[in-house]
């Protein structure tokens, strides 16, 4: 049995809307081993993205615990969570969220600005990430000069560049055509198999889920097998 990277225990998340309490996740338990590639599926409003945000340290639970690599991130304050995210997790979004006025290289470099790496070291890391996603020849291009698939590759390179343990992907192929989506999924598989990255992916697409090692279904805030 592989070592557990993500350990979620009795996790609940509620939101207050006016006078009403909306329960999004209820007493959820989940273990994700290292080097796993897990697809989270489920209908809209089932709590997939909320769970992803909690595991990625973007949100804090109402109750329960989230441990990543043995660290209780649910007990961290805002600043500690920022520091933790900078070095432990990479995010990939459906709409890429690249800065339009920066080149691919500068977009990828952004997370490294938070480190103590020198300019030449940052450049070296960016080149490595660009190599992995197969975009070395497009480093000087701005997002508007790249296709959707290429933009998502840049976003993946940005998520990878600080060498995090876990990649958190929210509908990474949701905005792409089938062929490009397959390319991106193959890239994620390669990152999982060849580079040992643990990947947690939220998707509505069964074909995308098939690329993962395993899938879990979430419904009304609870995991279904």
């Amino acid at each position: 049995m592989s070592e557990i990277l993500v350990d979620v225990k009795n996790l609940s998340k509620e939101y207050k809307r006016g006078g009403e309490t909306l329960v999004v996740l209820k007493d959820l338990n989940l273990e994700i081993p290292k080097e796993d590639f897990l697809a989270l599926m489920g209908p809209s409003g089932s709590g997939k993205s909320t769970l992803l945000n909690l595991i990625g340290g973007l949100d804090t639970p109402s109750s329960g615990s989230v441990s990543i690599n043995g660290e209780r991130i649910d007990q961290m304050n805002s600043k500690q969570l920022s520091n933790w995210r900078a070095s432990n997790v990479g995010f990939i979004f459906q709409f890429y969220n690249l800065l339009p006025v920066l080149t691919a290289q500068k977009n990828i470099e952004l997370p490294l600005l938070l480190t103590n790496l020198s300019s030449s070291q940052r450049k070296q890391h960016v080149e490595t990430a660009l190599n992995i996603v197969g975009l070395s020849d497009r480093s000087g291009h701005k997002p508007s000069e790249l296709s959707g698939g290429q933009q998502q590759r840049v976003a993946i390179a940005r998520a990878l560049v600080s060498d995090p343990d876990i990649l958190v992907c929210d509908e990474p192929t949701g905005d792409l055509d089938r062929d490009t989506a397959t390319e991106i999924l193959n890239l994620l598989k390669s990152l999982n198999q060849d580079h040992g990255k643990t990947i947690l992916m939220v998707t509505h697409d069964p074909a995308a889920a098939d690329s993962a090692k395993r899938s879990l279904h979430l419904d009304k805030g609870k995991l279904a097998s």
Binding site: N53, L58, S78, N97, L99, K106, P111, L114, S119, S162
Partner: protein, 385 residues
């Protein structure tokens, strides 16, 4: 410095908007530089011992005159070198639009005191010896195409001739120039003797005395001595340095410092609203980008500082360009509006206060969006998008 690419990226995102915002700041700081430079001349403190020329005026009003007999008594004070006097003639040359100051003065004493007015010995001699003589500044001569020998008609509005008419005629006998302060070339000097004999009123009086000192450090003592000498007389005096007198003269139009500062306050209040609105709009449009920064590990404080620095950079660029253009325009402005108060100049205190205002503007206009950026919750930002 490594965050510089983020600031540059933010400024480049909408270049037109950034350019227009900076342009409005440039105009504001240009106005600031120009108006403050003029206001400083009107409002700065004046030291009595800083000038080797004193002006003796009536204690109660600058339009009150004093007996010319005071001249000899002032001359007798120890430390006084030369005493001259001058009057405000008023009058119109052909049309009211042709305004320029006209001063009846005692030619020799006056030119001995104002050594900066350069005039040929022949012209000076002619001025001294011509009863209705007039000398004019070079600029004025060029402006009206005058030449030595011309008879210049002036219609009197304060002073009439003894026969009840008001058409004065002066012979232009010389031309002077003032290389250091060419604005002084836009005035004429008339022979006092003729003026006093010919006028229908106030004969034997003068508007004010100009006293040249042997030693400028003696100014405070001599000023006090003159005013004490004429205390409790019918025509009490108040003695100023030349610069203080000009400042007091200018203040007759109102509190120039207050007027200019009020204009500047209105300008900067408007600029504050413009910059604040631009910054807020810019940040609203970049909510998802700010959320990305936070997602990849930028702390709330760092994101807030990035917004503040962006605001600061915009304001400082505006300030430096505005004050830079002021510095370029200043020699021309100084020549155009230079006053007897002193040279109009962009001094370091104006530059420093301009930069201070830029920092304050950046802080106030950047505060609401910076606070919003700091409080932005990543989850909410992505949900809205």
């Amino acid at each position: 410095m490594k965050y510089w690419i983020i600031i540059v990226a933010a400024l480049n995102r909408k270049r037109w908007r950034t350019g227009l915002t900076i342009s409005s700041l440039v105009v504001a700081f240009l106005l600031f530089g120009l108006l403050r430079s003029v206001a400083v001349v009107f409002t700065e403190d004046i030291d009595l011992s800083g000038d080797d020329r004193l002006v003796v005026a009536s204690k109660y009003s600058i339009i009150d005159s004093m007996p010319i007999s005071y001249l000899q008594r002032i001359k007798g004070i120890e430390g006084v070198d030369i005493v001259a006097h001058q009057d405000w003639f008023g009058g119109t040359y052909i049309d009211r639009a042709n305004f320029f100051p006209k001063w009846p003065v005692p030619p020799k004493e006056f030119l001995d005191i104002y050594e900066e007015y350069k005039i040929s010995p022949q012209d000076e001699e002619a001025f001294i010896n011509t009863r209705n003589g007039m000398i004019a500044g070079k600029r004025l001569v060029e402006k009206f195409n005058w030449k030595v020998g011309d008879r210049i008609p002036i219609i009197g509005d304060i002073y009439f001739l003894k026969d009840g008419t008001n058409l004065w005629e002066f012979d232009l006998v010389g031309i002077f120039n003032d290389l250091e302060n060419p604005a002084n070339e836009e005035q004429v000097f008339l022979n006092y003797k003729y003026f006093d004999e010919a006028r229908d009123m106030a004969n034997g009086t003068v508007g004010n005395f100009i006293v040249k000192l042997d030693d400028k450090e003696e100014g405070p003592r001599i000023a006090q001595e003159i005013d004490t000498m004429f205390a409790n007389s019918m025509d009490e005096t108040k003695t100023y340095t030349e610069k203080a007198y000009a400042q007091m003269f200018a203040s007759q139009i109102g509190d120039i410092g207050l007027i200019m500062n009020s204009i500047l306050a209105a300008v900067f209040f408007t600029i504050l609203l413009v910059t604040g609105n631009t910054m807020s709009q810019s940040i609203r449009e970049r909510t998802s980008e700010l959320a990305v920064f936070k997602t990849i590990g930028f702390s709330d404080i760092t994101v807030m500082l990035l917004v503040f620095i962006e605001s600061l950079v915009i304001c400082l660029i505006g300030a430096f360009l505005g004050l830079g253009i002021t510095a370029i325009l200043m020699p021309g402005l100084s020549e155009m509006v230079s006053l007897s108060l002193g040279q109009v100049a962009l001094d370091s205190s104006i530059i420093i206060s301009g930069i201070g205002i830029a920092v304050i503007t950046a802080f106030i206009s950047g505060f609401p969006p910076a606070l919003g950026a700091m409080r932005l919750k990543v989850v909410d930002a992505f949900r809205k998008n």
